[in-house]
Symmetry: C2
Subunit: 482 residues, 2 copies
């Protein structure tokens, strides 16, 4: 999960549009047949009972394959794992599409507080940054509370030093604190380069107090100039802040053996449940890659297991839905939505159908917490249909949200291009304790919460696919961000 920032911005941008849309929507509710409701109830029950257990899938992926950064040997193994498992399940068609990207590798990395007894500091390089010279960078640290403070700093204060940004991410159920804090990570390395810093260290973008730093991708500016950059674990960052508070001038030795190393190819993996009456389909996405830290259980093994299992539940009903379900397991989300962008490009090249076949896109990429709300960006009729479907999600503890809040990571380029979107919001209260750290492991997944996710995707997928309503792909217009 990378693009919550964008999601948060969209919420603001779209608020004027949405008032019109949702105010009118409640007057009409599309009818769902009793037979369809009976199947939805059966799917909900089966999802909750874990009969096609998503937990087994995520256990297998995270235990036998483990961490699978884009382009690594384990990533190739994950692609094979996905193909094998989709083939064993109820999908009518399984295929892959290649995705190319620059390969970023992580070797040894360390930080030492040389001014204070050579204390070990828990730190990890940010994805996409260059490494340090082999002997590292040893320099005085200069402290900024926010990215803005660094932006406003006199270059003379920063030049030749290691810049340190200590902003703290605030926890919340919707994870919205991420967007506010992550600018230090995404934009910091370029700003530090502008100011003449030798390197950047940040307080991890995470809500825990563990000695486990959070990695994550940086944004490369047009001129490509960034400094070597890394995240300290939150207790280490707080230790550094305390040294400043105690009037000390800390010096750090930073060694990062990381950087880009040629090109790599991975694959988007697809499984499709073909519709009985139409070539249109709902796309349910997740991403197959993970960071190299942890085993990618929450990010995004859970999502992979949820959408595979939900679609398989639908496929295993006696009756195929009228329209299809396409499960898309995207490649290399973490380092820049490579799979999602490649998929969009492929669809735009497909003149005969392409994006217009996508009824809507939905993605599971915010961990394994319970879904508490359904939002979206669909047309008026589509939102009325969401309201009808919501009646059958409500028993799962899911509230009806708003039609101005798209969500998703790999599918975001499609949403920007005007594809309709539904967002099943997960409780992210604990997600950012673990996100992009060594701690993202299977034991953090609650099997019952995972099953609730499966049930919600299965009910949504079935009821939406087996109806005639369009959700607005092609009518909504592109989404632009300020």
């Amino acid at each position: 999960m990378k693009n919550l920032l964008i999601t948060v911005l969209i919420t603001v941008v779209l608020s004027s549009v949405s008032e019109t849309v949702s105010a009118q929507a409640s007057s009409f509710m599309p009818r769902i047949s009793g037979a369809d409701i009976a199947i939805a109830e059966e799917l909900r029950r089966k999802g909750m009972a874990g009969e096609h257990t998503a937990y087994q899938l995520v256990s297998s992926l995270t235990t036998e394959v483990g961490p699978r950064p884009g382009g690594s040997p384990a990533d190739a193994k994950a692609v094979q794992w996905a193909v094998n498992n989709l083939r064993k399940m109820g999908f009518d068609r399984v295929w892959t599409e290649s995705v190319d990207f620059p390969y970023w590798r992580r070797g040894d990395e360390s930080a030492t507080l040389v001014s204070h007894g050579n204390q070990y500091m828990a730190l990890t390089a940010l994805g996409g940054t260059p490494g340090t010279p082999e002997n590292g960078i040893t320099a005085e640290v200069v402290h900024f509370k926010t990215l803005e403070d660094l932006q406003n700093a006199e270059p003379a204060r920063v030049r030749g030093k290691i810049a340190f940004i200590s902003n703290r991410m605030q926890p919340s159920r919707d994870g919205s604190g991420y967007g506010r804090a992550v600018v230090a990570r995404s934009q910091g390395p370029a700003v530090a380069a502008q100011k003449g810093a030798l390197a950047l260290v940040i307080r991890s973008i995470g809500t825990d107090n563990d000695r486990l730093p959070h990695t994550g991708a940086i944004r490369l500016p047009d001129n490509g100039r960034v400094v070597p950059a890394a995240a300290l674990s939150n207790p280490d960052a707080d230790q550094l802040v305390r040294l400043f508070e105690h009037g000390m001038r800390p010096r750090i030795e930073l060694i990062l053996d990381v950087g880009f190393a040629g090109k790599a190819t991975s694959y988007n993996v697809f499984g499709e449940v073909t519709g009985s009456e139409s070539e249109d389909f709902i796309l349910m996405g997740a991403h197959l890659d993970s960071w190299d830290m942890g085993t990618g259980a929450l990010d995004d093994g859970a999502g992979v297991a949820i959408v595979m299992t939900a679609a398989d539940l639908i496929a295993n009903q006696s009756k195929r839905p009228k329209r299809g379900i396409r499960v898309a397991l995207f490649a290399n989300e973490e380092q820049g939505l490579f799979g999602g962008r490649a998929y969009l490009a492929e669809q735009l090249n497909n003149e005969s159908a392409g994006l217009m076949q996508h009824l809507f896109v939905v993605e599971s990429d915010l961990g394994a917490g319970r879904i508490y709300r359904i939002d979206g960006r669909v047309n008026q009729l589509g939102w009325a249909m969401v309201q009808s479907i919501h009646r059958h999600l409500a028993p799962l503890g899911i509230e009806l949200g708003e039609n101005d809040r798209p969500g998703g990571s790999d599918i975001f380029p499609m949403i920007q291009a005007g594809v309709a979107n539904i967002a099943l919001r997960q409780d992210a209260s604990e997600y950012f304790d673990l996100h992009h750290t060594d701690n993202d492991t299977l034991d953090k997944i609650d099997p019952e919460a995972l099953n609730q996710n499966v049930a919600a995707y299965a009910v949504l997928g079935w009821l939406a696919a087996n109806h005639d309503i369009n959700f607005g792909t092609g009518e909504l217009g592109p989404l632009t961000l300020n």
Copy 2:
């Protein structure tokens, strides 16, 4: 904190003695004067208000000195830190006594799951074990649920392999799960050697699910034969267990650059508040060293700060207590109670007074949780006095415990030798999530709970020191363990 195991055993051993003692004790309650009670209430209030703040001390020790394993340069810095701070406080006398021990060092250490995509495993060597050859040990893993299972195994099953013990420590307020689980760590390396294993890995002796392994000392058998041994973090151990459950045969590469390297000297550091009428004193202990992981905030920076601050509060009253308070900050507890044993030897050599001057010993070495109970091993009159004192601890939420439950780590050799003991039990519910890991850092300390500890030690120290009652040192007889 090392010797909970022993504490747990003692509880069993002494239970027959205690029934007699505590059944008779309630008939007599020593009187405490109104003036003494007024001072106790003032000390309790000041302790809780944090006026002589223990938090500042533990912040300074853990931030500016950091981790301080016995014999390291940081350990020497910690000794200087303690001397300087004791001198700045209200102590009448500050001194050090040297302690010698073999120096154990930790270099690089790693574990890789070579059979499954070379997954990184979070692991740390156990203190006192030998290292592996430079290129490591790569071998199949053989799984045992308990130390007993390894003890009962046919050597042919173990020979040439890496033995793995997966026992789980159970959490509880009194930390008693530690004693039951820690045998895998303390005795496992010798048992694995007997069976012909190449190495031993254990599930960490801890109650968390973080990718942060727990170190801790091993017990060297008389023949000195142990294998290289290390603890996996709990999620890593569980990953390994799952591979066995999935029918796999995992192989691990283990590299441990650790081992003994010559001799080292450190120092027990003492600060004494001299009694106004007697040379007898209460000894309040803690240990100054820590493991090299974390910054030793809970283990045992908190204890150091608690006993220093409590004694200083007493020293800063207008009136000196009749008998003294000796703060003892022991050297190298973690690697085998070296400071505590050296102190006992020194006292036994002191024919004129020695142990008999110790009214009782009490130690803070179980983190920074609130004290919930007062226990001890004292004579009948001493226990009656504990009951009188308890009335002034009860407002701190402390219950009266039993007179058959000694506690303490560095002071344990003294308790075994027959010195009276009082134990202020801390809530250890979260302690074993963090104990002996990188996560033992200042942010884990709740300043209010720390102040409650200070208040309890100050009230106990004052009321006991300013009375005439003996607690039984010299009458109790030695304590033997089965």
